[in-house]
């Protein structure tokens, strides 16, 4: 058990087993983080290959077919398998600590969510070695993907179906956790903004992933079992895929950016050393963005031919989102305004984020103007827009938060000096790469092309853009080096690493014990850590209960087994259209494994276990020395 883990050195096998079976939100957070970094690196490498190909006109560094595969896998991986898990990593690691909980509401499901995501991701990546990756873009429009030869699209459909189930499960878990597991006194309007944005983002997952699931399911039966949902020659409708995809797809971009907003709303007040400006308007704006996010999907389909009425309505709805987004931007600026600012690495990322994200929002509103979008659609302008919001908004949030939360997650620190260098290399590289792409788009360069003719005025900008991409890659390598160096840094072993922490997670003495709080905290106001510090409370926490037995969940290998079952079944489904004899048995065996694991889980009662008071005291003494957590 993890209570023993800290004291005795365990063998490799035992550690591995611990991670395969863990239901601890902190460990799952770390696993999400590393899995996310892995896929971020893979997708980044794919991007680099594409930019090398586009560095000079008429290049033949990679073939057109491979380019399409790289393009598709880059987009799909970055959104579903890198950004999502990285943000889930922070949600897992931090949200329970912010609300004063000892774990999430459903620890077992939390682990299941991770393994489904991870095996779905592995499945999709196996396509590279098994006859070709998906090649119809991350949007995989049916009119293209239904006719894609080979199994690439099938890998996309099945892989996303599995990892999407994991995402949906984790989303529901966070909703229930935040609603039911808050410590006494942690009212809704005292919740930190990262918790709020996690709640809203999880709610968006709850409502947005089912349309994707339906779309993927239609695609699955169309491609693998000969149905005709999207085949217009058979009475289907290929546009339905686009609607289903974007009814999911637009909320998806907000699913990713809202937690990023939340992370910056944590970072900025701490380093401006001022209370977050306009807390309640921030909460309101988050909810409004979440709601409006569902009303604008057709802005991706202005050129489909829905007609002027539809285009006008969706144009207005889209522009309306800029209002709550603007509220947030002003609130951040007014938080910084007049603060006593400490420019640490997380703050540097926050300062870089604001103008970059605003630029992305402005191009968004430009594209929302339907007539203008007829010019901009499917050009490099779109590429510039979404990279400004995604890299400028989400990736900066992830990098900044790695520095910010590293002490809590690992009891180690990332180097500030190297961090500053990383920031500048990455940030300059980012703007070099994408700023000029706006103009490439305006000059008519279409997106998703594997090469271009010389002397159309695109050569120089493409060259510079590729240089920028190389700088971004260097930045990422520096970040990885920083992570590796952090292993050698001395443990932090204290509270409130940054000295100006405001929310509850900073009140916890590091390293965080596996039960998080030896006594459930009592939250007496907004920014509880800051409040207690103001009142001279050395422990930075008031307790809601006396020291007592702590109830914790048991570890389980079942989530991994369930996910492996689906992973196996997916291979059967994939090869089914080839008419191989083993496809149906493999599907049956795979689903059988999953169902058996589910039955085992249902029949076997698992009440968790109690950590008794003496054990709690012993653990505290081992972690913090004599006298324990005092």
């Amino acid at each position: 058990m993890s209570s023993v883990a800290v004291s005795k050195k365990k063998g490799f096998g035992a550690v591995l087993w611990d991670y395969l079976t863990t239901v601890d939100h902190k460990k799952l957070g770390v696993m999400y983080l590393f899995a996310g970094v892995l896929f971020f690196a893979i997708a980044g490498f794919e991007a680099l290959l594409m930019r090398i190909q586009l560095m000079v006109p008429n290049n033949d560094f990679i073939s057109a077919g491979l380019f399409n595969e790289l393009l598709t896998m880059h987009g799909t991986t970055m959104l579903f398998l890198a950004a999502t898990p990285l943000l889930f990593g922070f949600m897992n690691a931090i949200v329970p600590l912010q609300i004063g909980a000892r774990d999430v509401a459903f620890p077992f499901l939390n682990s299941l969510g991770f393994w489904l995501f991870f095996l779905g991701a592995i499945f999709m990546h196996l396509s590279f070695f098994m006859g070709g990756a998906p090649d119809a873009g991350w949007t995989s429009y049916a009119s293209l993907s239904l006719y894609s030869p080979g199994h690439g699209i099938d890998f996309y459909v099945l892989g996303l179906q599995i990892s999407g189930a994991g995402t949906l499960i984790s989303g529901i878990n966070f909703i229930v956790t935040i609603i039911t597991m808050r410590a006494p006194g942690m009212t809704f309007m005292r919740m930190p903004l990262f918790t709020w944005t996690t709640l809203i983002s999880s709610s968006l997952i709850l409502f947005a992933f089912p349309p994707l699931t339906v779309g993927l399911f239609f695609m699955l039966v169309d491609r693998m079992f000969g149905a005709n949902f999207f085949d217009h020659t058979m009475g289907g409708n290929t546009i339905i895929w686009e609607h289903l995809f974007w009814i999911f797809g637009h909320p998806e971009v907000y699913i990713l950016v809202l937690p990023a907003f939340g992370l910056f709303s944590e970072i900025i007040p701490v380093f401006a050393r001022k209370r977050l400006f306009g807390y309640s308007s921030m909460v309101f704006a988050t909810i409004l963005i979440g709601f409006l996010g569902f009303m604008v999907w057709a802005h991706h389909m202005f050129t489909v031919g829905m007609g002027p009425t539809a285009n006008a309505i969706f144009a207005i709805a889209t522009m309306a989102i800029a209002v709550p987004t603007g509220m947030k931007v002003f609130n951040w600026i007014l938080t910084i305004w007049g603060g006593s600012i400490k420019v640490t690495v997380p703050m540097l990322y926050a300062l870089g984020f604001i103008p970059s994200f605003v630029a992305g929002g402005v191009t968004g509103v430009m594209m929302a103007t339907a007539p203008l979008d007829y010019q901009l659609h499917d050009s490099y302008f779109i590429v510039a827009h979404f990279h400004y919001v995604i890299v400028g908004g989400i990736v900066t949030a992830i990098f900044g938060s790695m520095h910010y939360y590293w002490p809590i997650m690992f009891n180690r620190t990332l180097s500030e000096k190297l961090g500053v260098l990383t920031f500048w290399v990455f940030f300059i590289g980012f703007h070099l790469t994408f700023f000029l792409q706006h103009f490439l788009g305006l000059m008519g360069m279409p997106r998703r092309v594997f090469t271009f003719q010389a002397d159309q005025g695109w050569d120089l900008f493409n060259y510079i853009s590729s240089i920028g991409a190389i700088m971004m890659a260097v930045g990422v390598v520096l970040l990885v080096i920083n992570v590796l160096l952090s292993i050698k840094t001395p443990p932090v072993n204290r509270r409130d690493y940054w000295g100006d922490g405001r929310s509850l997670e900073w009140s916890i003495q590091l390293p965080v014990p596996f039960y998080n709080f030896k006594q459930t905290p009592l939250v007496r106001g907004f920014d509880p850590c800051w409040l207690e510090k103001q009142e001279g409370n050395k422990e930075m926490m008031t307790y809601a209960e006396p020291l007592g037995d702590i109830h914790m969940p048991n570890n389980s290998i079942l989530p991994l087994i369930m996910s492996i079952g689906l992973f196996i079944a997916a291979f059967g489904a994939l090869y089914h259209p080839d008419g191989v004899s083993w496809s149906v048995p493999v599907i049956v065996i795979g689903l059988g494994i999953t169902v058996l694991a589910m039955i085992t889980r249902s029949v076997k009662d698992d009440h968790g276990f109690h950590v008794h008071v003496e054990e709690v005291i012993a653990t505290e003494e081992r972690l913090y020395g004599k006298g324990g957590n005092k």
Binding site: T180, S203, F207, F291, H607, G608, F609, H610
Partner: protein
Amino acid sequence: MGHHTEVQAKTKAQYEYDRHHNAVHMKKQVVNFAIMIFLTFLAFAVVVADFSPYLIKPFILLLAGIQVVLQLYSFMHMDDKNGHHIGVISTYVWSGAMIIFPVFLAFVTVVWW
């Protein structure tokens, strides 16, 4: 795991109360389940009986509406007014409705044609 698992002892009265409560609850679930099967049967019946599409379509939509309500209120416990967090659950259900209704409206008015 080498740790204690939790064993809860119930008093006799608590046991009797739970038993009764569960029995009532079970009965309600079975009755509702039967109703839902019956509604599904009706849906198939109107199609097999070859009624006019102008009858079949609204009829099936009506049945679907009833099934949704039954599903939410009976099987998903929204009728349990004293349940934990019933307010939050209703909020979620209504938010879902508020999100899906404009989407539906957009489809039938401006997008589809």
